[in-house]
Symmetry: C2
Subunit: 914 residues, 2 copies
């Protein structure tokens, strides 16, 4: 018979910390803590498997499992010498969710289970604290009613508020035991009215319903959304943890708190956390009361404090990772309620990994695996330029909850944030956030709350997302309904409306009115450098290059550790203001002679560009792609021209002057408008395409107009000669785009090699090493890669276009149905963000294998945007590519992803913090 | 040492008829005829290999080969007892091209080689016919000058005409021996002037130059174009046939002629051909003089006639195919100059194959292989509707040279034909055609000439192309320069200008003014039916279906032998006038409810369509594809809307009324134009796509708007029930288009199956068999075909789109560079006409194999246009598809191609007539 229920407590446990799949993170932590002798209230965990069985059976739980639950409960009762539903001395239970991966606040919890009309009286008698007992029952009915009986929370709130009004009190704490008793009666009526049934008095029935409600919360919209965002599989299910209640709210010798063994924001090795006296856990997490720093626990109860430090630091050693724990002190006695590996910011992840390795707690491999590659993003994004901050009004300083700088327009609700985010960056400004705000937080650039501490919902979620976040900015008064906030600054009231710009610094907690300037981060901080050095050791020969078109980007790339340029898009240079007119003249030319004339003007400019790149990359390879985009991209838009021509007969002189200025590059004046514009439209029509993505572009341009390829090759090799003569090492790799097979490559390669031979001979530099290769971005090129490799000295996979063609999916158009495809699980992720390994990846692997079979020393890389996405980098590593190339700012991420792939053979699983 | 020169003559030969690769078609025929004892003038063939060596060596021929040529010449001389260049009794030679595949008139020939100032006098003495001898020398200088010395033909013509003028004669035949002698002197001066050298008097040098000129003519533009058109590889090269001259022009006991052992137009078993008394071969082929029918040869010389019949019919038996032969009678003695398998029209090919099989000359397999599948096109294209002819003026009746009816606008030159053909159908009207007209003939729908017979250039080439052709329409006077033609009809002069419509009937020779109506051909003629039945036996289970959207097309398809519908495009029905408004309402709907309302109106219409199809296809499978095209195709064009909106403020009432009528479907009046049009544009903009081919279409529409798929499924199954209840057998196969993987298919399949289950249950027809499958037209679907087949009950390859995506090539746009790609040999054929087996085909094969591995009984077919192209059909057969589907008129072609593939394992080679 399978085991579905795992007991823990009294220094022992059925399960252990490794069994997260079965017990969930919380259950595994409780079992492990119990085994380690930590003071854990006894209980049992109903496994995640039961959750899946529950859904398969449409909400029914087989008898054999119910029997195991009964046995677990019996053991618990015997351990505490109390019985569930015992009117004299009732056992009270908590029932909590707990999945394999932490989903903070996303699922349901029920506390104080076991109370009913009779046991409450027993609790009154036993504790001698009627107010406490009634408050417990009151809270239980409300929580159970909402979670297990699906009653609208507002119904309870109304009853509560009505009673408060009647009692003429303002604060909940002012209510007497009698008031609470009356509220209980009201609540029971609410239950009866809403469910047409009495509130369940049978404690065992309560337990069953609570367990089922916990399972059921796996599929709430917010939980589903969170899993999608965090890429947590839907079929894991949650465990249900049933545990004896302990109370942090039985009086002033009680408290509850949460903490970390190190600072989850910075990674500094300090005991870190918060607690609230006479409170329950929810009060801390919800951010309703602002808690005290954990250092003050020492003053409150030194013995408990020392015990907590000892226990948690031994847990950290045990788990070999930073712990995120929860505790409660009931009547002076410490209970550990939870421990798990703590979520942390990118900077913290790096620092903790580096320091733990130094401390000898973990080895270098483990340290490298400890940082999710995307977390590095937080170390690499801009910070505020201090100079620009001087010009702004500083509104207040809150609590620095998640580091990084963010600038955006204010939104006062998650819904508004989603709408505003479509138009530009947004800062979500809320009194406090709740799990319902998850989508708004996801789209926001930064999060600012008026209340709550570092462990509040806003802080925890923002850190997980890597979003800058400031919490507890109590100086700000917010009316979410009126979409307005006010702050007193230097005696004046500053008003912030929806859509106003603000700037927040999650590293310092500072909040500014207006838009601050941002500054590039320092990629060379000692901790970061140590970490990357450690990672690079595992990466071996697998290279990381950057996509860069201009020397400035190339320099940034080198500073981030790029080992070459994997993609220089030469045409980007043609869009520059001083060049586009020549480019347009080239396109409008009717014959080769005129085309060459225009190209001759572009030649010195391109040569200068390439010389700059070669100089910046001294000794590192530079992959230069010949012209790629359709020519009409350089001309005025067809439909604009049509409209301008259509209204021309009605245009007054002002409008005509406007048009003359708009089409200035085409040598037009007020009188010639009516002949020049139609002629221009004629050429635009000739170049017009129904599917430009599949049209006249890439090498097709070079085949049709060989003189373009010739000019570009000349610019490349003349620049190479120029720079090499100055004593720099130059390694050009000329890349032909969009080939469908070997013949196009051979055609273009001949042009390049002929020019190179001529230029190098003339400069007496015949030995200058260069390569000619191709981009693989059309399925046919991949399918015939064996033949392509007879001509290609290197392949670079253009997985943006290869994804478009392989999936028949236009990157510019697919957003129309992207969400529907994600909701219906047709896309498990955005195929332009994460390489589709099953489809596109299969083709890539086939091509690599076929290419290498023809030419064993074929250099193979990737230059699509997937080159900076961790799971895609791991894939590239696994199939034996030589390098990935990505945007300069993602170079460290790619380096780390590659190192992790080297260590584990697959970086994807290890990069998720469980 | 390799053998490069093959002698023949005197009843023996070095080579034989099988050696076409080495000897070319003509050389192999001469060798074979010589071996068979036919009276062939002796000679030798310089192999095709030498031609390739000649080009590799840049025009030089290695000594070892020259030695073999000398030896061949020596043998020839000894066989005839004459010597080349012997002033007393000169040996005269012809040097003719001859490639593996016949290229009539495309390459060079030189006759009378060996004549010079001295040998000509010897010939005068020997023949006693000074006029003949001088005329021979005159012709030789002219031909040699033009072909071997590259002198413009006009230079000789000028000299000739000047002398004629001087002699005051009109006809060439009126010139005396003295006149001709003077012309020779003039010609020699032309040569001296144009080449700065004397005309070569050394006969061996003449031979070398002539041979090289023959080789060189392999690469003339017309030969290159012809090879491209006929798909003859460029690297085959031509042989050079050196042969003793015989003269059909030595007097009235001489003649020359060509013939066929059966009628190459109809296939009828009659001795067929033409001859000209006292003429050379060129006179017959060029069409300058209209020759006599070969039946009259009997009257001219019965002995020769009988000998010719005996020889050619034994050659037919020898080759087991219809022979196309050339002969010359010199002073009463018959010489065979050439024999080869004759080119023939489609109807002739079918009839010859069927009758030869009946005669026992060939077996059924050979008979089936004898007809190129595309030749059937000629049997399947429309003929004139006699009723419509009654309304037209019949201009004349010429010679029926290539069957079939054609209607088009008149062009008077090949160049004009190319230009006019871009705008519509063209009839090329020429006095006579020359090989330079080849491109104009290719683009024309039909060819009409004023002179020439059935063996004229126009007739031969047109039959090869399958173009309707009428020749020798001598009643028509043509001024090609003035682009005008006139005919006397019933005493009146009818004028035909460039661009005027005419109709020609190549089967009857009739020529009409104006546009005749055409009628469907009869696919059930007994010969054709016999042939197709013979072919079908070999095809086995491999099926041929048709693409048809409406019952009328379905009926045509069945009459052509279609075994089902392989593709019904349901959306074509939505474009009908009575439906488009509902379709537009559906697209403009803002919510599901309104969409469903519009769909409900379309439902009964679709149901009616499907019922019609099911009825027509009683018992045969019908593959119905769910909606495929992007929705914006149903709405007004974006740029038109933009322009209309831009000019609206300036529009007068007339223009406004025009707009109201244009946008009538959108419920607009003069007043609401300015609000409705922008709103419409807004929706059009929403649907606008940069690359519609890769956008929101196919199953993506069904995923986004499941109610569309639902409506279509309902229409399909309600129609199926309706028709089945009438006692017909219904086999629906519902096909989901444009899937990228199994998930989209599963999503859409569920909708279809749910509806089917409901509809069939309601009708109590649960056992009605249907299938749900998918179109494979996206590379990713092919790459993941193994998983796709877990859901798909059938695959149908949409190779149009699969070619677009696999090659990254937009069918609507690639014509911009198609010609350049063909000229540069990047495309060996149009990938949308002939399946790219190396690239796209590889993917198709992978998918078939993977699909069958998952589901061994997976039904696999093709519905792209390649399904009717013979080499692609053969490919589909080879990789194990179950069927091909093509347009109704190509069904017989596909049936034959499949049969040939079954016989030979590859229909492509066998289907070319050598």
């Amino acid at each position: 018979m399978s085991k579905y229920v795992y007991s823990f407590g009294n220094g022992t446990a059925d399960g252990d910390g490794q069994m997260k799949d079965v017990l969930g993170g919380k259950g595994a932590g409780l079992a492990e803590m119990s085994r380690a002798g930590a003071p854990v209230p006894p209980g049992f965990t109903i496994s995640t498997e039961v959750c899946n069985i529950f859904f398969q059976n449409k909400g029914a739980v087989p008898d054999e499992i119910e029997t195991q639950v009964d046995e677990g409960l019996a053991l618990l009762e015997s351990r505490l010498g109390k019985k569930l539903g015992d009117a004299a001395d009732p056992l009270l239970l908590s029932v909590r969710s707990g999945a394999k991966f932490s989903m903070p606040g996303m699922m349901n919890t029920i506390l104080n289970l076991g109370l009913n009309d009779k046991t409450t009286e027993g609790l009154v008698a036993k504790t001698g604290n009627a107010r406490f007992a009634y408050d417990c029952y009151r809270r239980f009915i409300q929580m159970f009613g909402e979670v297990a009986l699906n009653i609208d929370m507002a119904k309870f709130d109304e009853a509560f508020d009505a009673r408060k009004h009647k009692a003429k009190v303002k604060l909940d704490t002012e209510l007497t035991a009698e008031d609470l008793k009356a509220i209980i009666a009201d609540y029971l009526k609410v239950v009866k009215k809403e469910t047409k049934k009495d509130f369940p008095q049978d404690a065992k029935e309560q337990l069953k319903l609570a367990r089922n409600a916990v399972f059921g919360s796996w599929w709430t919209p917010k939980a589903t959304y969170y899993r999608k965002m965090e890429k947590i599989p839907d079929d894991l299910g949650t465990a249900a943890n049933v545990q004896a209640m302990v109370f942090g709210n039985m009086g002033d010798d009680c408290c509850t708190g949460v903490g970390f063994t190190r600072d989850p924001g910075s990674g500094e090795k300090v005991f870190y956390g918060e607690f609230l006296v006479n409170a329950q856990g929810e009060d801390v997490v919800s951010g309703i009361r602002t808690p005290q720093p954990i250092s003050q626990l020492k003053d409150w109860n030194a013995e408990v404090y020392d015990q907590l430090v000892t226990i948690t630091s031994s847990l950290e050693k045990h788990y070999k990772d930073m712990q995120d724990f929860e505790f409660t002190v009931q009547e002076g006695k410490l209970y550990m309620l939870q421990t798990r590996n703590g979520k942390r910011t990118g900077p913290a992840a790096v620092r903790v990994a580096v320091e733990m390795e130094k401390e000898g707690l973990i080895d270098a491999k483990t340290a490298v695996l400890r940082v999710a590659p995307n977390q590095l993003d937080q170390l690499l994004h801009p910070v505020f330029d201090p100079a620009s901050l001087k010009k702004l009004v500083k509104l207040t300083t809150g609590i620095d909850a998640s580091p990084g700088a963010a600038v955006g327009r204010v939104a006062f609700s998650a819904e508004d944030a989603v709408v505003l985010a479509e138009k530009g960056p947004v800062i979500l400004l809320r009194k406090e956030t709740t799990p319902d705000d998850i989508q708004g937080m996801d789209v926001a650039r930064g999060i600012l709350t008026a209340v709550g501490g570092k462990s509040s919902h806003a802080a925890v979620v923002a850190r997980g997302m890597g979003r800058p976040c400031v919490v507890g900015a109590g100086a700000i008064s917010i009316s979410e309904r009126n979409k307005i906030a006010t702050v007193e600054v230097g005696g004046k009231t500053v008003t912030v409306n929806e859509g106003d710009w603000i700037s927040i610094d999650g590293t310092t907690g500072a909040v500014y009115q207006g838009q601050a300037d941002t500054k590039d981060p320092d990629p060379n901080s000692p901790t970061f450098a140590t970490f990357m050095k450690m990672a690079d050791k595992f990466r071996g020969k697998f290279g990381v290059r950057a996509n860069a078109d201009i020397p400035r980007d190339a320099k940034v790339a080198v500073s981030f550790g790029a080992e070459g340029i994997g993609l220089c898009r030469t045409e980007h240079m043609f869009f520059a203001e001083d060049r586009i007119a020549h480019m347009q003249a080239m396109i409008l030319a009717n014959n080769e002679k005129d085309r060459r004339k225009a190209l001759a003007k572009l030649l010195p400019m391109q040569r200068r560009d390439f010389a700059g790149l070669f100089t910046a990359m001294d000794g590192l390879p530079v992959v230069i792609r010949t012209i790629d985009p359709p020519l009409h991209e350089f001309l005025p838009k067809r439909e604009e021209l049509m409209v301008d021509i259509a209204v021309l007969p009605y245009a007054d002189i002002k409008k005509k002057r406007e048009l003359v200025s708009k089409y200035a590059n085409f040598g037009v004046d007020v009188k010639t408008l009516k002949t020049v514009l139609p002629a221009l439209l004629h050429r635009v029509e000739e170049l017009h395409e129904f599917n430009p993505m599949l049209g006249l572009r890439g090498c097709r341009l070079g085949v049709l107009y060989p003189e373009i390829t010739e000019m570009q090759a000349r610019a490349i090799f003349e620049a190479a000669v120029q720079v090499a003569k100055k004593g720099k090492k130059v390694l050009p790799e000329v890349m032909i785009p969009l080939i469908g097979g070997v013949k196009e490559l051979a055609n273009q390669k001949k042009i390049v090699v002929d020019v190179a031979t001529e230029v190098l001979a003339k400069a007496d530099m015949k030995k200058l090493h260069y390569m000619v290769g191709t981009m693989i971005e059309i399925p046919r090129a991949a399918l015939t890669a064996g033949e392509v490799a007879t001509e290609a000295e290197f392949f670079s996979f253009g997985t943006n276009d290869l994804t478009q063609t392989t999936m028949g999916l236009s990157r510019d158009d697919y957003t129309k149905f992207q969400r529907e495809y994600e909701d219906k699980k047709i896309f498990t992720s955005d195929p332009f963000g994460v390489l589709d390994q099953e489809g596109v990846g299969k083709l890539v692997k086939m091509a690599v294998d076929a290419g290498r079979a023809t030419r064993p020393d074929l250099e193979v890389g990737i230059c699509g945007e997937h080159g900076g996405e961790p799971s895609s980098v791991a894939f590239c590593y696994r199939i034996g590519m030589d390098y990935v190339s990505c945007s300069p700012y993602r170079v460290p991420i790619a380096r780390l992803a590659a190192a992790q792939a080297a260590i584990s053979g697959d970086g994807s699983e290890s990069s998720r913090t469980a």
